[in-house]
Symmetry: C2
Subunit: 295 residues, 2 copies
């Protein structure tokens, strides 16, 4: 079985999961849903999804089960905990975890399912709520090539790019690398624009001058502008980037790979959380620097 004919299950209808599941329903997939809160489930049922009573029940009703959950323990609970997906999934089915979790546990989960004849992909995304709504996510997948091909019609609905990065866990490693580069670039842009401002130079002119050269980036363009406008409504929350920074730190520690500059960026994210800015967009790292400068 493959393609739009597959029966999908979707577990986790949060800020990301709800629009993703909606897009799959709108694309014509039969979708069975489950989530902790009743509200989003009702909304999905209204547009054509089917309600299931728990993770195992979703798996029983589906060929492919997708999870989109906050953190590693949530994914472990929903997939292999009591009443989890593993209790309802049949041989030949496919599990796709699109949450951002630790690479190590992602590999362990894939092995657990694999030993029962169930394929699993780790397929975290970037692109945020807007990407989820517009179906323009960037998807980074780890797992078997065959499973990746089977998932492709689903990824085509959810994202504008999907890269098969490597074996199980590779998607999560790739997402960790993504979150490392994004946060570090935000911090660098924040340090540069504050330096301009505090040196009496118009930071908007600096952003303009830097855009055309090697300092140019998507972050300078989008998040740089948010800093100029002091527009820190999320976007992607500092709280969530702090969580992802922990994943980066753990992955680096396990790989024995040095991340000297990112360690400082992670500390800045933690400081912003400690200062009560956890619900700001991650471009709010600029506000943390301003606080340190005594602005």
């Amino acid at each position: 079985m493959s393609g739009v004919g597959e029966r999908l299950g979707f577990i986790g209808l949060g800020i990301m999961g709800k629009p993703m599941a909606s897009n799959l329903v709108a694309a014509g997939f039969p979708v069975t849903v489950h989530s902790r809160s009743r509200g989003p489930v009702d909304e999905l049922v209204e547009v054509g999804a089917t309600r299931a009573d728990g993770a195992a029940a979703v798996a029983t009703a589906s060929d492919v089960v997708i999870t989109m959950l906050p953190d590693t323990p949530d994914v472990e609970q929903v997939l292999v905990g009591e009443g989890g997906v593993i209790e309802g999934a049949r041989v030949g089915s496919l599990v796709i975890d699109m949450s951002t979790i630790d690479p190590g546990p992602a590999r362990v989960l894939a092995a657990s399912f694999g030993s029962r004849g169930i394929a699993m992909l780790d397929a975290p995304v970037s692109g945020g709520e807007r990407g989820a709504i517009e179906g323009t996510l960037s998807i980074m997948a780890g797992g078997d090539a065959e499973a990746f091909e089977r998932a492709r019609p689903i990824f085509d609905v959810l994202g504008s790019t999907a890269v098969h990065v490597g074996a199980s866990g590779a998607g999560q490693v790739c997402k960790a690398c993504n979150q490392l580069v994004v946060a570090a670039t935000i911090e660098a842009v924040a340090e540069a624009l504050l330096l301009a401002e505090r040196s009496g130079v118009d930071p908007s002119k600096v952003r303009e001058a830097l855009m055309g050269g090697f300092a140019g980036s998507k972050i300078l363009e989008v998040h740089g502008q948010r800093m100029l406008d002091r527009a820190f409504d999320p976007g992607f929350r500092i709280r969530l980037h702090r969580k992802d920074a922990r994943i980066v730190e753990d992955a680096a520690s396990q790989a024995g790979s040095p991340i000297p500059s990112f360690e400082i960026v992670a500390r800045q994210l933690q400081r912003a959380v400690d200062a009560g800015d956890e619900e700001l967009d991650h471009s709010g790292l600029f506000a943390e620097l301003e606080r340190e400068a005594g602005v």
Copy 2:
């Protein structure tokens, strides 16, 4: 006087200055040159430039004097030292320093010339040797708007963009911001690609997956590829970026602006210098990380 009719002086025919002066000669400007080494002067004379015996003599023969020198003390010596530009320049002439130097001294120099009726721009560039050769530099200028307009026909030859950032020193502040963001982004990309590799994931796949999203940048594209290829021939040398990092640190210290992540990047540049990698391209920060990982 303005436009191609102006008589130009060009002091400092190094890796950057020589192709810049050549482009001005080729564009039809009358150019008088001076440089420490005789070789590049001879080359410029061969294509149509005029030789002058020292900085003051260049100034006497020119309406606009351009300097492109290694560091702050060189610029101070050539502009206001014994036998310097200030001894030959007349009221109404224009000095354009395109070197990368400290913003503070750039402001002091502009004031010295200004008090004698001589305009001065600080106009550092980014884009490297290739940008200098191809006339595609990105120019960041500080000084009077009138002086900037007068310099525009010159900037049009040398660069593809020229931004008037603000008053005297603003060009150097902007360049410091540029060098901050460039080095910090290189370091972040290096940390991410090494993390991928040491986690058993193909870093070229990670680079590919990250290019489309918020982690995408000119640095990930160009310097990320150099890291994958271990192609660290310069390019822009670590030694020079270390010098520019010192300018960033001093500017930040004087402005009271925190640069916590860049401090670490500056330390990494210093470590690379200490390890003997000073003549590598700055993407060679990747090699420094590998050393730390014991690769």
